[in-house]
């Protein structure tokens, strides 16, 4: 079997740094803890630099869309102007300055609130679509639970049927929902450990070098 070791230098650095951070997290040795915090500080700085590179990539993608006159390139023009404008305003007035907060309060917040409102509609529609797409016992249990929990938190029905709000909702939240959530979280935790160990062993290498 031919074994080709890809990127030995960056793999060695990744494994060494990963091991130090992991051991510093588990073992209470002051030198390891200090080294872990130092490396994490580096990681935070690098994440900041990566964000700048990411924004440059974002501009590049939208510039390419404008340049090649792709569908929706007008939105790309708006995005680039908005990005430059926001950077200039925040650079000039500071992140908590009047105009910076104006952009946040009167542009970003309303847009995100609108998307949140659309999300509620999209979820209601998706729940109805679920019956058509995947009609089985689990789907029926899921939808009945959603409806019962919704009914129990509405002011009118919650008062009319106190059984819903006083017993059923707390029982669903405390017993089946908690049990299911813990089961899922245990699975996620095991998957996280497995993924982390594969990266530490160098079998998964989402980097080149």
């Amino acid at each position: 079997m031919r074994f080709k070791f890809r990127a030995p230098f960056s793999t060695a650095i990744a494994i060494a740094v990963g091991l130090i951070v992991l051991l510093g997290y588990i073992m209470p040795i002051s030198m390891l803890i200090g080294l872990r915090l130092f490396l994490l500080q580096w990681a935070v700085i690098l994440a900041g630099v990566a964000l700048i590179i990411g924004v440059a990539n974002l501009i590049g993608v939208h510039w390419h869309k404008i340049h090649t006159r792709q569908k929706g390139s007008l939105y790309s023009v708006i995005l680039i102007f908005a990005l430059i404008g926001t950077v200039l305003v925040i650079g000039g007035f500071g992140p908590t300055g009047y105009w910076s907060m104006w952009i946040f309060n009167y542009i970003q917040l309303p847009i995100e609130a609108s998307l949140m409102a659309i999300l509620a509609v999209a979820l209601a529609y998706a729940s109805a679509r679920l019956i058509r797409r995947r009609l089985n016992v689990l789907t029926i249990i899921f939808l009945i639970t959603v409806v019962l929990v919704f009914l129990s938190v509405t002011p009118v029905l919650g008062d009319m049927f106190p059984f819903l709000g006083d017993f059923l909702h707390p029982w669903i939240a405390a017993v089946p929902a908690t049990a299911g959530a813990r089961g899922i979280l245990l699975g996620v935790a095991l998957g996280t450990v497995a993924t982390g160990l594969r990266i530490l062993m160098g079998t998964d290498r989402p980097y080149s070098g």
Partner: protein, 249 residues
Amino acid sequence: MSLTVTLSLGFILFFFIGMIVFSVLERRRSGYQLRRIPAFARLSRAIGLSVEDGSRLHLSIGRGSLTGPESAAALAGLSMLERIARRIGVSDRPPVVTSGDGALSILSRNTLESAYKAIEEGAQYDPNAGRLSGITPFSYVAGTLPLIFDEQVSTNVIAGHFGGEVALLTDAGERSGSLTLGGTDSLPGQAVLYATAQEPLIGEELYAGGAYLRAGGMHIASLRVQDIFRWILVLVILLGSIAKLAGVL
């Protein structure tokens, strides 16, 4: 050394040894049957179809920070990306990746580049295929929606850290007629994906992507160790419940 430290070290050490042992066994005799997960069966078909009909596959690896615990979900997504890129490398429309974190967007480009180099199709690599869509939950979604609608996407793979906002992505996938499958590490995101994705990945299924896309023996070995630890946890929970009922604990 405290009990917690000993248990943590023991857990990681046994996990590590288990992965080594099972990967050696897997190399000697590859016969471990993976249970059928419909999402991965459909993904394999979708990969083939996207090569045939020249459509694009979109992978969304979420907005988890690389320095936080939620990075594991995105790293699982990246290992899926590597396999997908190798299989679609010869397609007219290479896969495109969106992320909500600068470091993840760099890693996604790096993964794509190394996957193309591995199949000797380095010229296929497009730096614009790994994109930072937005760094807040809704800006990320807003930045990703045009891609789903306008870039002839036939399959959306959602594998990373997401909250409830992921419903907008799955809704866009549904309306554009593309297949949407996905999983996340967050509980609200899981509930939303269960209701809205055509093929949801529940819990640890998200991390099994590499094994199902044949990323190597170590992926299958890690699944086997996860199974063992799951049974141990089930036993501990049952014994704990019995002990609690009996008044011992």
